[in-house]
Amino acid sequence: MEDVGVKKAHLGFWSLFALAVLAGAFIGLGAEFSTLVITDSGLGFGLSKVLGGLVFSLGLILVVIAGAELFTGNNLIVMAWVSGKLTLGQVVRNWVIVYFGNLVGSLVTVLLVYLTRQWSFADYHVGATALSISIAKVNLSFAEGLARGILCNALVCLAVWLCLSGRSVTDKILAILFPITAFVASGFEHSIANMYFIPMGLLLRGEPEVVAAAGKAAADLANLNLQGMLGNLVSVTTGNIFGGGFMVAAVYWFIYRRPHEEAPLGGRAFLVRRVLDLFLSPHQPGNPTKRGKA
């Protein structure tokens, strides 16, 4: 994982950005598929959610198998940082480029799906489902968005983590299915998926047939605006970074990859040194224990 992180962090700007746009589009396609399937599925609440989650997995399957750069998955690069193979600056550079690339990919997908008028299927009920999803997202409190974001990306990063143990495409797909289905069915929040869901709601709120099919009044749509979207993205993105970067990457690094007792700097001292390195010697990446020897 550390080596993968180092490779990702050293990608050139345009390669990284293009791969990020692809990932945004892939997640958008998964979200669109999920919206379609849960509309009038004829199943009960739980099974309908599970089915929605199962088809949403398309997004991460495309990202992992076809190859793309997804912000939430890239939170695992934290592992390469705490190992001293990357600087925090390189990690944040990757995250910023990938985040905005994902946003562009998601928005392009939203526009294309909107132009297809796919939301008018089933007497505008597909659009009504999309609208209801986006309204629910912009009405979350900060704490709800944060907690759902943490749990979501813990599951997404675990899916990516499991994929590393897969040898074939089938292994990887199977590794992705359950964690992703679990997060979607549980209603957890994925910042990049929300870059599809909320803009789609913003477009559909202007379609009277969709609003009528969803049974929403003007008051329900009050928070569905750019400010609502920004509020959701801030809390959910913060949660995603913590869930993926700290709860999965840092925890697994601590369990398996932290320096041994005999190393010059072990355990807590090593972590303190990494934090101090941020401000004292930021120019060259490298393990501070090795740097100390030199």
Binding site: W95, P282, H283
Partner: protein, 71 residues
């Protein structure tokens, strides 16, 4: 009482997580900017040195090829 506890817990978690994540991001951005400035500075320094060497070489070549006045 339970309400107050749950609100206090939610607030604490929200504040701690947000502070941790955003401090890390800000530190990373700060470091990124420092790295970029350092790269730009070393590029300018290298460029200036190359220009100086080129000029010195050109000057010495001209001086070498030009007949010196009075000789």
């Amino acid at each position: 009482m339970e309400n107050i506890l749950s609100i206090a817990f939610g607030l604490t978690v929200s504040v701690l997580v947000s502070v941790l994540v955003w401090t890390t991001l800000m530190a990373g951005l700060y470091q990124l900017v420092r790295e970029q400035i350092h790269q730009a500075a070393s590029f300018v320094q290298r460029f200036t040195q190359e220009r100086y060497v080129q000029r010195t070489d050109a000057g010495s070549q001209v001086a070498h090829h030009q007949p010196v006045a009075g000789h």
